[in-house]
């Protein structure tokens, strides 16, 4: 427990929070969109486990604009 308390949460928390928002936005967009490039379940995995890069990659190449 001591190690967890030693982490300066005041500095790190905004970073985690922004990452979480980005992930949630990507997932909301994924649930609304009609079709993606590649299967949808794969994008869910990429967004959740590929933290920052996963969401960016989804927004750039995952969305099918048509």
């Amino acid at each position: 427990m001591g190690e967890l308390q030693a982490v300066p949460w005041a500095l790190i928390a905004p970073l985690l929070f922004i990452q979480l928002i980005l992930m949630v936005v990507a997932l909301i967009d994924l649930s609304r969109i009609h079709a993606t490039n590649g299967p949808k379940w794969l994008w869910v995995i990429i967004i959740i486990f590929g933290n920052l890069l996963g969401s960016i990659v989804y927004f750039i190449i995952g969305r099918k604009q048509s």
Binding site: L11, I12, L15, I18, L22, D29, S55, F59, Q65, S66
Partner: protein, 260 residues
């Protein structure tokens, strides 16, 4: 003018509905925040990862606030610019390829209003993202490393925003001229390749538009040489106008390539 306003409204709505207005600033905030924190905790991270032998001494460089802002700018220059270009490079060409543009082109709209609205909104979103990123970076830098002089920071930000303006004008003009893939390749090659070229042999050339980011950072330090700065600014403004004119021309002449 009224056409321009309507088209800008449409573009803004589009960028809001596709979450561009939300996720691009978030990406830039993350990029801006990561460098101050990473450099501040570098020693702790190395200790936690392990592998440092007993009695190993390492002197970490003392970073000043300006160094950290420069590091954040480096992030924006590589990952940030690629993300921005990849997002906006399809803004005209993709509409042509999938046929949505026919809805617009059958109406008597002026092509300059069409192009200018696209460029305006792309630049606006990019600027909001960059300002958000720098604000986050500045916040952490001031907390962890000490103050930055405000008037210098604002001068730096303004210069960097001109560079972003230029990059977005090039991106949208390329999008008007070529298909998406070609446009993306050319733009990334010109912008990123030009930046690498500038960092390799930039010290031999005094005037080039790729100098804008580095000279914006030089504005932040105590000693900067402002002789070529004004020439660079004028050159960039000139290039900006040329890109916009090329974009409008290509927008008009390529209108017939729209898929119906």
């Amino acid at each position: 003018m009224s056409q321009f306003k309507v088209l800008v409204g449409k573009e803004l709505r589009e960028s809001w509905r596709s979450f561009k207005l939300l996720w691009l600033p978030l990406v830039f905030i993350l990029l801006g925040v990561s460098d101050p924190i990473l450099n501040y905790y570098m020693m702790d991270i190395l200790k936690a990862v392990g592998g440092i032998p007993e009695g190993f001494q390492m002197v970490m460089p003392e970073f000043s606030a300006a160094d950290i802002i420069a590091a954040s700018t480096g992030q924006f220059q590589s990952i940030g610019l690629i993300v921005l270009i990849a997002t906006f490079v399809g803004t005209i060409s993709r509409e042509r390829q999938n046929g949505t543009a026919t809805l617009l082109y059958v109406r008597p709209i002026s092509h300059s209003a069409l192009f200018l609205s696209k460029w305006f909104v792309a630049t606006l979103v990019a600027m909001i993202s960059v300002i958000a990123g720098y604000a986050a970076s500045l916040y952490y830098t001031v907390i962890l490393y000490g103050p930055v002089e405000w008037n210098r920071f604002i001068a730096m930000l303004a210069t960097y925003l001109l560079w972003i303006c230029l990059v977005m004008a090039l991106t949208v003009a390329m999008s008007a001229s070529f298909k998406t893939v070609v446009a993306a390749t050319l733009t990334i090659f010109l912008v990123i390749g030009g930046t690498i070229f500038e960092s390799l042999v930039g010290s031999f050339i005094s005037v080039s538009p790729w100098k804008l980011p580095s000279s914006s950072l030089a504005l932040l330090s105590d000693f900067y040489d402002g002789t070529d700065f004004i020439i660079n600014l004028c050159l960039s403004f000139g290039l900006l106008i040329i890109f916009i004119l090329i974009g409008i021309m290509m927008c008009k002449s390529n209108a017939s390539t729209t898929k119906i």
